[in-house]
Amino acid sequence: MPTSELLSRDAYLLSIELRLFWLIAFIYCLSLVLFIFHLITRQNTAGRAGTTLLWIAAFLHIGLILFRTFEAGRAPFQTLFETLSWFACSVTLTWLYVSGKWKDVHLPGLVISGLALGASLYALFARSPAIDPLSPALDSWWFEWHVVLAFFSYAVFVVSAAIEMTYLLVKPMIRQGLTPYGFTDDMLEGFHKSAFRLVIFGYPLLTFAIFSGAAWANDAWGRFWSWDPKETWSLITWTVFTIYLHSMTIPRFKNLPASVINIIGFICMMMTFLGVNWLAKLLGIPSLHIYAV
């Protein structure tokens, strides 16, 4: 195919991809509105509708990611635009899978749709969707595994945090004898336990993600660890989840403290993904982009 035709084909495919992505973001937005309504009114109909929309969005999002894979001719998680899209999709899918066990519980969908919408809008408004070739250092087998596992663990930690937040909100209501948001007294502890089980599932994945990142850095730059902010934040996230798992073995820490630590772990994970230099900026510390120690 002549180059000019090739380029207009690529531009056309990209325009379809972008329209689909905007549509998906719109559906995330609708489901978020429904979940907010569910939160305020405690009506399960709104929650159910929100979850149905999440299913539709997730289904379309899988299509979008397959489309991007075909368009780029490579795994679709190498630019921030792509990883944000991947993040939104994997978080939604993980929640929908977990929610299968808790049929009439919809409240965690609020956090999930909020994050999926935030990630999608950030990608669409602030990042370029260009399909550029990989820089030589990224072209590695380790890198692909590193990203896949890291994002898988992120999705799992997000859902765990959403469950934890729901639990903290609902527990006092149940104590007062209410049955809010589709919860009953006997299912609450089982529901809360799934937050722990998710962390147990995600923790080895995050460990492998850090390990594969180190193996890749060792092959590419000859240093398995250089304390750059992204690496260090991943270590912080890992340490916080280690603290969480330790807390779960101590009766004194097992309840509220462990729940709070789990949510802190989620915040650290988001910092690893998006905000590595945010604290320095907040405190007015200059970032000189030198990270060789």
Binding site: M1, P2, T3, L6, L7, D10, A11, Y12, L14, S15, L18, R19, W22, L124, P129, P133, S135, P136, A137, D139, S140, I200, F201, Y203, P204, T207, F208, F211, A214, W216, D219, A220, W221, G222, R223, F224, P229, T232, W233, L235, I236, T239, V240, I243, H246, T249, I250, R252, F253, V276, N277, L279, G284, I285, P286, L288, I290, Y291, A292, V293
Partner: protein
């Protein structure tokens, strides 16, 4: 958890303090505090620019200079404070593993009081039931006998949690050993190799331990030779994507279309490859074509493709002696007011947009680097090998160029230990979390003339499914 008994008569305050410290360091609660301290320390390291000099930090408007200097916050990860905290964590981990080692071989006991979690009605007579249940659990369901008393029989299935947990904690200690070996012995450097020239590795540094008796490592007894160097590129098209949010939304709504366009210098680097040979005298002892992500290992050293350097030969006008300039640097051209800046010479192979692969006709982009040119965003011009361009009235000809490969090297005996222990931690951790483990106590009781199997099951691990276990048990016993 139990501690070794220390005789009562030991009353000296120092020993008591030691005992107290030891007990604290054997506890999981302490590990929570130490790990929290480490997390805060890591955060500090992300806030302050590591490796920056104080003057740069000050110039960039950095705050709390005194505080930053006192706590080595610009080299925090190698500061005594951080290393002490890491050592404390290691001690905590070591004592924990040591204290829990005997319990790995202790028999597991069921708690004194427990209620059956399930009761299954058996059809057999009491005597036969015993053998039947034991046969089903042992032979068909894979349980192992743990203990037995007059009422309860205790069995288990799956890999022991305690042992797996202990093993990966021990694996983390081994990772620390790897880090320590790296910290003591690793050194690194970089060399620039010209094709065909043999170069010995003469490091300028040494590991932290060897620095006590030598400033730098002795040169190697073998030499490294570059037999060939090649760059590879891919042809790219630039996406003309609007910057403002409304136009981006307009694309999403289909009111605007994105566009790809071809720029004059549209090659993006894909790979750099060096054919390396290690030789002792005239004898070749190792050989490999290295590229980014694929280094050469020899004699404890690992050689990485870091980059390359180019020296351009540029003739100005009819001057027979060409001027030399490094790629990406400025050249002062006699007769011109402003310097000229050359980019990287594109040479080697290129994969075109349509997938075909071509040899590149070497060229470089050049432009005036003066203030006015920068202000007016003057576009660079393409200068082919043996071709000429006119820049501000001067004729420039690219008469040739030389390439050398920049290779970084590292000697790090800790990596092997780290890989081994890292993989060990991953395997044991995965088994601990993902596989199932069942701990079961049962007894057979006669009630109202019927025989019942009372079972209490404790399960852990994501692979454990108690409901499924009960169902299978009931099915096998029914049969």
């Amino acid at each position: 958890m139990r501690f070794k008994k220390i005789p009562e008569k030991i009353k000296s305050p120092a020993k008591q303090l030691l005992r107290w410290t030891y007990r604290k360091l054997a506890s999981v609660t302490t590990s929570i505090y130490i790990l929290s301290l480490m997390a805060v320390f890591y955060m500090i390291g992300t806030i302050f620019p590591q490796g920056a000099s104080f003057s740069d930090y000050e110039k960039a408007g950095g705050k709390a200079i005194w505080f930053v200097a006192s706590f080595d916050l610009l080299i925090f990860f190698s500061s005594p404070l951080f290393l002490c905290a890491a050592l404390l964590l290691l001690t905590n981990l070591g004592i924990c593993c040591y204290e829990r080692y005997p319990s790995l071989f202790a028999k597991r006991v069921f708690p004194d009081k427990f209620e059956p979690t399930r009761s299954l009605k058996l059809t057999r007579h009491n005597d036969q039931s015993q053998t039947e249940v034991s046969k089903v659990l042992k032979d068909e369901m894979g349980f192992r006998l743990v203990s037995k008393d007059n009422t309860w029989i205790v069995m288990e299935k799956g890999l022991s949690r305690r042992r797996l947990t202990w093993l990966y904690h021990a694996g983390i200690i081994l990772c620390f050993v790897g880090f320590i070996i790296t910290w003591l012995f690793a050194f690194e450097g970089s060399i620039t190799l010209k094709p065909g020239k043999a170069v010995e590795i003469a490091p300028k540094t040494t590991g932290n331990l060897s620095s006590l008796w030598q400033k730098k490592e002795p040169p190697t007894e073998w030499a490294l030779i570059l037999d060939g160097f090649q760059t590879e590129y891919v042809e790219t098209a630039k996406l003309d994507y609007p910057k403002d949010k409304f136009s981006r939304l307009a694309i999403g709504l289909g009111w605007q279309l994105p566009r790809y366009e071809i720029k004059s210098d549209n090659l993006a680097p894909k790979d750099w490859k060096s054919s390396l040979r290690v030789a002792r005298g005239v004898k070749t002892i190792a050989q490999k074509t290295i590229e980014i992500n694929d280094p050469l290992k020899h004699d404890g050293y690992t050689f990485y493709q870091e980059g390359f350097e180019q020296r351009l030969k540029v003739r100005v006008g009819n001057n027979p002696i060409p001027l030399e300039v490094k790629a990406d640097e400025e050249l002062i051209v006699p007769g011109l007011d402003e310097p000229v800046k050359f980019g990287t010479v594109r040479t080697g192979r290129v994969t075109r947009l349509d997938g075909s692969v071509d040899k590149i006709k070497p060229y470089v982009m050049a432009r005036s680097a003066g203030k006015s040119a920068l202000k007016h965003e003057v576009k660079p011009e393409r200068l082919d090998l043996h071709g000429s361009i006119e820049l501000d009235g001067a004729f420039l000809t690219l008469v040739g160029f030389e390439e050398s490969s920049v290779i970084s090297y590292r000697y790090d005996p800790g990596v092997l230990v780290l890989w081994f222990s890292g993989i060990f931690v991953l395997i044991t951790m995965t088994l601990r979390f993902y596989t199932g483990y069942y701990f079961l106590a049962y007894n057979i009781a006669l009630s109202n003339g019927s025989v019942f199997l009372d079972v209490h099951v404790r399960a852990s691990g994501l692979g454990a499914d108690t409901d499924k276990l009960y169902k299978r048990m009931a099915h096998l016993l029914e049969r």
